[in-house]
């Protein structure tokens, strides 16, 4: 479905991605983990075409998207749904309008059907009856759920989640993960998720890729990642600090 080959990107003199190779199979949940500032969100922005790489290629179903013109890239993006780290909800619109917006703009269906689909999506994320509220009036967890509803309302083939649970309490983290798994089971989309939530993501991922110093250090099933002999992977999933004193 998605194939990344030798992706490189620097910002000024700072190399962030130093040759990423990654494949995401159709219908799987791929979770990209790694340290903060390690380039996970930069990788995601390349996958959705918000950034262009210095070198390397990204294929979506054999179409190379890194050199596509805007209109051709938009045709690929029509198959995408993206959940941004902060939700990226339009603050001038209500919750209902935020979720309905992609349908109004991209799908030619009657207004009654749009209303029905939006209410259905809001109910699926546990926000029925909240459509009239403004994004500023709802909690961080609710905003994330509205963002998920907006990303899924067009029933996309691929959904990208950029740290969908950052800053939430453990109960909300599990609620959102449960929601993603449930929606994935129902709609069978391909998911690429950037997350820090260890060990929770091991329960939802089909495969986990560890990004370290601009390269994929390891990509395997959650079980294989947890049993990995790679010290970088072990250090990250155990949350060990580099100069930790010996355990007593």
């Amino acid at each position: 479905m998605i194939k990344v080959e030798g992706l490189r990107r620097s910002f000024g003199a700072q190399p962030v991605l130093r040759g990423i190779d990654l494949e995401v199979a159709s219908g799987e949940i791929m979770v990209v983990i790694g340290r903060s500032g390690g380039g996970k969100s930069v990788l995601l922005k390349h996958l959705v075409g918000l950034l262009r790489p210095d070198a390397g290629r990204i294929f979506v179903d054999r179409t190379e998207i890194t050199r596509l013109r805007r209109s051709a890239l938009d045709r690929i993006r029509e198959r995408y749904g993206v959940v941004f780290q902060g939700g990226a909800l339009f603050d001038s619109m209500s919750v209902f309008d935020n979720v309905a917006f992609p349908l109004w703009e991209k799908v030619r269906i009657p207004a009654t059907e749009i209303r029905q689909r939006v209410e259905e999506k809001l109910a699926q994320v546990g926000l029925q009856g909240m459509g009239h509220k403004n994004p500023a009036e709802i909690s961080g967890g609710m905003r994330k759920r509205v963002a998920i509803a907006r990303a899924l309302v067009t029933e996309p083939e691929v959904v990208f989640f950029d740290e969908p649970t950052t800053g939430l309490d453990p109960i909300l983290v599990n609620t959102i993960h449960h929601l993603i798994v449930e929606l994935h089971r129902k709609f069978r989309f391909t998911a690429v998720m950037v997350s820090h939530e260890i060990p929770e993501i091991f329960r939802i991922a089909d495969r986990v890729a560890m990004l370290h110093e601009g390269l994929i250090a390891e990509c395997a099933t959650p079980e294989a990642i947890q049993a990995s002999a790679n010290p970088v992977v072990q250090q990250f999933i155990r949350g060990e600090i580099e100069s930790a004193p010996p355990a007593r």
């Binding site: 922005k45 075409g49 918000l50 805007r70 995408y80 990226a88 703009e105 991209k106």
Partner: protein, 269 residues
Amino acid sequence: MTGPVTTSAPQVLPVRLVGELGARALEVLQSLGRFGRFLVQAITYIFVPPFKLARLVERIHFVGFRSLTIVVLTGAFTGMVLGLQIFLVLSRFGSEAFLGPAVALSIIRELGPVLCALIVTGRAGSALTAELGIMKITEQIDALTVMALNPVRYLIVPPIVAGIITFPLMTAIFDVVGIFGGYLVGVELLGLSPGTYFGEMQTFVDRADVMTGFWKSLSFGVIVTWVCTYKGYYCGHGAEGVARATTQAVVLSSVLILVWDYFLGSVLP
């Protein structure tokens, strides 16, 4: 051992300075190119469907209607000040009869378009920049892009068209209110006859003067909305980036209004 170091240092410094100067010049050229391309892109999308009419109406309300109070207030007091000052000057030469045309020509040709544009820059232009800047830093513009929706069509074209429509209308209102402000002072306060005030105006103010004001206000509408949306769309990071973009938008718009006013004033009849 120190010989080569002391001889190479003076050579390296000028080369480095030239390099830095060249890099800075390229940066300026690049941003000028981006600035120009931004407007060309926006103007292109004005004529390419789908047209975002609801968004345009909302922007006309925001840029035009909500600026009306301040435009009327400024217009009234500008006309009153002009009426007072010009009356004092003309009375020294015994030419008070020319107060009407003097106030009207000053307002219609210069002060109406310029002051109106400066006021709307402060009220609506700065808000446009801040709004777009916040949309940029909260990834709302990226959200539009990944929805395969063109942010320029949604966020830039409506305010520019709103500027083209509302600036001449607001300037016309400013002109009328300003002329009546001059009337209030000259006729009601200082005793000039109403017939003289308006009669001489009809003799001296012609269509070319009105058109000069119209072309100025139209071009100021483009300049203000272009600069303010550009600065917001390409603002830096965080609250500081939005604040800097807003300041730059107001300063650059104001300077461009004055420069362009001089240019148009010298080429238009």
